[in-house]
């Protein structure tokens, strides 16, 4: 009896109406998720269109010269964003140079070597760091990092690499180097927590296969686990880079806000995000406002170009690994 009534409702399920089908979930979940995906796309498109539209006066006035010249003179109506572009790139490069090796090494320790309890505790603390607001990092930079850099790091750099133009000139605290270091501290948590997850997701069978032919633990990590996790680790690095390129508050507080291009990392500089944040409220005149928006467009473009390059890099290395 019971079975025949089940069969009955099964038949019913097969030819139910539109409403019942919607309640079944497939169609409605498809529509809702599709709408969200489209919405994201629309928002990004709107941002680009708005940036593009509002930067038209500056684009018409300066064209590519905007990216090639260094004069930033609101009174004279001359705007060249090269020093900001330079500052953004240099500080992000310093940040990655420090954060990538430190972050990946920490992730390896947490995923492969530390006892699970210690690993979970440290990971919890590191993930807390990722949630600290950037203005706090700025304060931390000013009150802790700058004195340390002045007292220990700069003298050490000058005595060992002082012959390089990178470390010449006097150091007043605010500088490319300081901004890069603060950024490094800020992005390390991203690299560590994402990379650790990725390393933990490498199948045990892969590790055992390497151990079983006589590889040491470290050889297994280096030859097998890291390559297996490579694209995920790259992903964490690009997340970090995106954060470093766009970081505004902390950088503004320690970079010095001086639109100059100097080889010395000890000199003050400026970044795109910082100049927009500092000058937008007071910008007077169409050309000035439009130049700041153009700078924003450049930052947006820079982020997209770097991400695209990164994706190509991942694709190329994984294909090479598969065939070579």
């Amino acid at each position: 009896m019971a079975s025949s009534s089940i069969a009955g409702s099964l038949r019913h399920r097969a030819n139910r109406g539109v409403l019942a089908r919607l309640r079944g979930g497939d169609e409605i979940s498809y529509l809702v998720t599709l709408a969200c995906a489209v919405l994201i796309f629309v928002v990004v498109a709107l941002i680009v269109a708005k940036l593009w539209g509002n930067s038209q006066p500056a684009i018409r006035a300066f064209g590519w010269d905007f990216l090639r010249t260094s004069r930033w003179n609101p009174n004279g109506g001359k705007f060249g964003a090269l020093p900001f572009l330079y500052g953004t790139c240099v500080t992000s490069a310093i940040a990655l140079l420090i954060a990538v090796p430190t972050g990946v090494a920490s992730a390896i320790f947490l995923a492969e070597m530390a006892p699970p309890k210690l690993s979970n505790l440290l990971t919890f603390l590191i993930e807390l760091l990722a949630a600290v607001p950037s203005v706090i990092y700025g304060l931390l930079g000013i009150f802790m990092l700058l004195p340390l850099i002045r007292v220990y790091l700069v003298p050490a750099l000058k005595s060992t690499f002082g012959f390089l133009p990178l470390f010449q000139g006097s150091f007043y605290g605010v500088s490319f180097l300081s901004a890069g270091l603060v950024l490094a501290v800020m992005v390390i948590p991203f690299i560590v927590s994402v990379s650790r997850e990725v390393l933990l997701a490498v199948p045990t069978e892969q590790r055992e296969a390497a151990l079983a032919v006589g590889a040491t633990k470290w050889e297994t990590t280096w030859d097998i686990v890291l390559p297996y996790a490579r694209s995920g680790i790259f992903g964490s690095i690009f997340l970090a880079l995106a954060r470093a390129l766009g970081e505004t508050m902390a950088v503004t507080m320690v970079i010095g806000n001086t639109p100059k291009i100097t080889a010395s990392l000890l000199s003050p500089g400026y970044s795109i995000a910082a100049v927009i944040a500092n000058e937008f409220a007071e910008a007077s005149g169409d050309l000035y406002v439009s130049s700041l928006i153009f700078a924003g467009l450049v930052l947006f473009g820079l982020t997209i170009v770097i991400n695209a390059l990164a994706r190509i890099l991942i694709l190329a290395t994984s294909q090479k690994a598969a065939t070579a």
């Binding site: 006892p115 699970p116 199948p203 069978e205 892969q206 590790r207 055992e208 296969a209 390497a210 151990l211 079983a212 032919v213 006589g214 590889a215 040491t216 050889e219 030859d223 097998i224 390559p227 297996y228 690994a321 598969a322 065939t323 070579a324």
Partner: protein, 277 residues
Amino acid sequence: MASPQQQQIMTRESVTRPAETAASKTPGAACKLTARNIDFFYGSFQALHSISLDVPSHRITAFIGPSGCGKSTFLRTMNRMNEALRNTRVEGELRLDGQDILSMDVTTVRRRVGMVFQKSNPFPKSIFDNVAYGLRVNGISRKSVVEEAVERSLQHAALWTEVKDKLHKPASALSGGQQQRLCIARALAVEPEVLLLDEPCSALDPIATRRIEELLFELKEMTTIVIVTHNMQQAARIADLTGFFLLGKLMEIDDTKKIFQNPGKKETEDYVTGRFG
């Protein structure tokens, strides 16, 4: 590195022969690996209880028994793979050619006692690099030597003719059975004296299974084989010696024929005749 032939010679010379039980039942076979009173603990749970047995040289020894009885645990004790797990402990004596396995350098143990796993686990590298990996970590880098060893291993694993034109293609492009033979080739490349296989055919169809069985039969010439299997026909087909595990104990180990036709213990008989509850 010694060639298989040299290794064989070295083995013969360095073998110590205590009064063996299993070995004496397979005439002409020296004893390759001995276990005495092996206890194994996962934390406080004792998974193995006083396992003692002798694995004869150049024979196939099979372990059978119901799920969870400790076959894999014992296999992984023999090449100390369980050490990778935290909170485990092994007690007793394990000897490879009379040398104490538990105090040997662990990478040496694993080079000499190779392992093939239940699920084929090729690296996401090329076919060539998969087989060459063991050579590399063991310090062999001369190109000609590596190439020769890769070819020889693939031939021994009965895979050479199928892959010789695509050595630099990714291993993931192979079929399941081919991948498992690739894993066997990878294990063979470092010329292990013992090859441990944990249910190597459980994910394969009957034809691929047959290939691997034939292969193991031929590999007896080169190495000593220990295989865990759930498939009793498989044990009966290929094993010289069969051991029956139950609840962490080795109930009995004897000639395969005897285990299947005239076992010494009631539990063994129940299991091999399918009457096991």
